[in-house]
Amino acid sequence: MPLAGSLDIGSLLEGAPNVTLDDREVRIDDVEILQVLYEVRATDIEGMVPPALNPTIPPVVSFLAYRAADSEFGPFSLVQTRLTARAAVRPRAFLVSARCDNPAAAEALAGSFGFRIEPGEIRLQKFHDRVDCRVTADRRTILEVALVDPEPITGHDIQYAPGMHLARVHDDDGTRPRLVQVDSEYEFRRADRGRPELRTFDASAWGDARLVPTEAVSASFTACDVTIPPVRYICNPDIPAAEGTQNVGDAQSHA
């Protein structure tokens, strides 16, 4: 059987967001998204994803940066560090952690969708020859990634895997650790790809010092509208996703 995650959930729960499942939907128009993918060192990879998920071969980290010119929370930027994974046979990305520069957006995304967010200053800049993203926290640069030499492609060529966010989920039955599945939808208006570049990555600042990027894979930059629909699935992080995935309606009715 494939490698399975063995991440100690208990160790992560302390910083995990509290989620109340509701029918909240967030729509953000005119978002620019930079995604930079790097392979990461496979040593200890099982220990970096929960038992519900299988790491991919090779494991890949995704740096996913959003810049929203406006939203119901005002303008904001969000950068996620995610690990490619599988929930049974489905492609997923396990959220290691995220940084956001807008407290209202951070609170909403954490409370409804389980984004594990800390504050950070984010600068996402598009030039004709490159797209740069820099994240600073506590006056230290913790991430610098870029797409170099953009060339146009179509949105059909882009894939963003649904996120799996570890959270404490509240319902009538109490509070349980769960992976919240976030199936964001994208309407693309423009897409570019280019050469990925990673200049700075402070793995400890993103929550897992074992995360060591090794090989560049790809970079893309898109302009799109993003909809984050209400959460449909949650998953027990401690057992394989095929056994532990629940439809939210079922989870609530059984609670």
Binding site: M1, P2, L3, L37, E39, N54, T56, I57, P58, V60, T84, R86, A88, V89, R90, P91, I153, D157, I158, Q159, A161, A191, R193, E215, V217, S218, S220, P240, A242
Partner: protein, 369 residues
């Protein structure tokens, strides 16, 4: 109809010093039996770095062992990767010709280009280029076989005039195929006079449409080699037993674990925005067909699992769609005991195969008068 066995050489964890040797030994025993029973082909994949899923990175060596232990079954690359970072087309032509000689003219050369980032990234190959390099490789390989001396100035590959040796003993050269997973590759096959080695378990209607398109187009093709191979084959899971429920249960275990393991691979399309891979290869087809790891083949129509009558009925459906042959997975990740597989193959050969074969072509069973 022609029948084959398809070898991935998957090796489940935990790995011991004996794991790979045992998987290879079991596969060779299956191939020896397939030869005795009248199966037409053994195919071996070329995969690299695919932990557990496939430890068959040197298929020509495995196929040589198959050839040395058998008398009549044809040995096929299913498929050799036409990616320059993996190997030069010179080496493909040389090694394939040697295998053709050693097998007594039983080689089939399937061609392809890999679909996973795991493999392409491992060789630092550019996924944007693989369709182009495949095209160049399939044009030059038959020329290396048929021309005494050969030279080439191409896009991905060039060489000064040299004799590429040895030459295959099949004349004008061994049949050539291409793996068909991405939509439209059947037309690539037709335009070049290559056989379609289907690796995706599609539906009947989709298959019929693809085959019709292929047949229409191959009529007017300009073959890359000296002749047209217009055969079209598909892939399936074989589990045949008198107890149909037992056979289906066993076959579904193989299909389920195959689907599960295939889904763990990192497709090129998933991590790299590229038009070179319009689909993810085998993976999306499997994902479409299933909702969870326990029901891989539930929605896959025409599975060749069950009693001999069930299996024959399924094959008739594929035959009606237009396929010339079916290649079978008989095991995966060693989930079924070797004895079950051998019994399943024997029952299939005794009860099902004769329904689809000209009696004159049937082999005489070992020990028969």
């Amino acid at each position: 109809m022609e029948f084959g066995v398809f070898m991935e050489l998957s090796v489940p964890r935990p790995w011991t010093a004996e794991s790979e040797r045992q998987v290879y030994a079991n596969a060779l025993e299956q191939v020896r039996l397939a030869d005795e029973l009248g199966f037409d082909y053994v195919w071996a994949v070329e995969h690299h770095f695919l932990e557990e899923y496939s430890h068959c990175s040197a298929p020509d060596l495995f196929l040589t062992a198959c050839a040395m232990q058998t008398k009549r079954i044809r040995v096929g690359h299913g498929v050799v990767a036409c990616v320059p970072q993996y190997q030069s087309p010179i080496r493909i032509a040389e090694r394939a010709a040697a295998l053709d000689i050693l097998s007594g003219g039983r080689l089939e050369l399937g061609t392809g280009r890999s679909a996973t980032w795991t493999e392409l990234g491992g060789f630092r190959a550019n996924p944007d280029e693989t369709k182009k390099t495949w095209d160049e490789f399939v044009r030059v390989i038959p020329k290396m076989w048929t021309q005494e001396r050969f030279s080439w100035q191409g896009r991905a590959f060039s060489m000064p005039e040299r004799a590429v040796l040895p030459k295959p003993i099949q004349k004008p050269h061994p049949p050539m195929w291409v793996a068909v997973t991405s939509p439209g590759t059947e037309f690539d096959a037709a335009d070049r006079g290559l056989g379609c080695l289907g690796l995706t378990p599609g539906g009947f209607q989709e298959s019929e449409r693809k085959i019709k398109g292929y047949r229409a187009r191959v009529e007017s093709c300009e073959p890359v080699g000296e002749f047209v191979n217009n055969k079209v084959s598909t892939i399936n899971f074989l589990s045949c037993a008198e107890d149909g429920d037992r056979a289906r249960k066993a076959g579904l275990r193989v299909a389920s674990i195959f689907s599960y393991m295939a889904s763990q691979l990192l497709s090129a399309k998933e991590v790299l925005p590229t038009r070179s891979y319009p689909s993810e290869g085998l993976l999306p087809a499997l994902r479409r067909e299933k909702g969870g790891p326990g029901d891989a083949a539930q929605g896959f129509k025409g599975v060749t699992m069950g009693t001999p009558d069930d299996v024959a009925a399924a094959i008739r459906q594929w035959e009606a769609v237009g396929y010339d042959g079916i290649n079978f997975f008989v095991n995966f990740m060693e989930v079924l005991p070797q004895q079950y597989i051998l019994d399943s193959m024997r029952l299939f050969a005794r009860e099902v195969m004769p329904q689809f074969k000209d009696p004159a072509q049937q082999p005489v069973p070992v020990g028969a008068d």
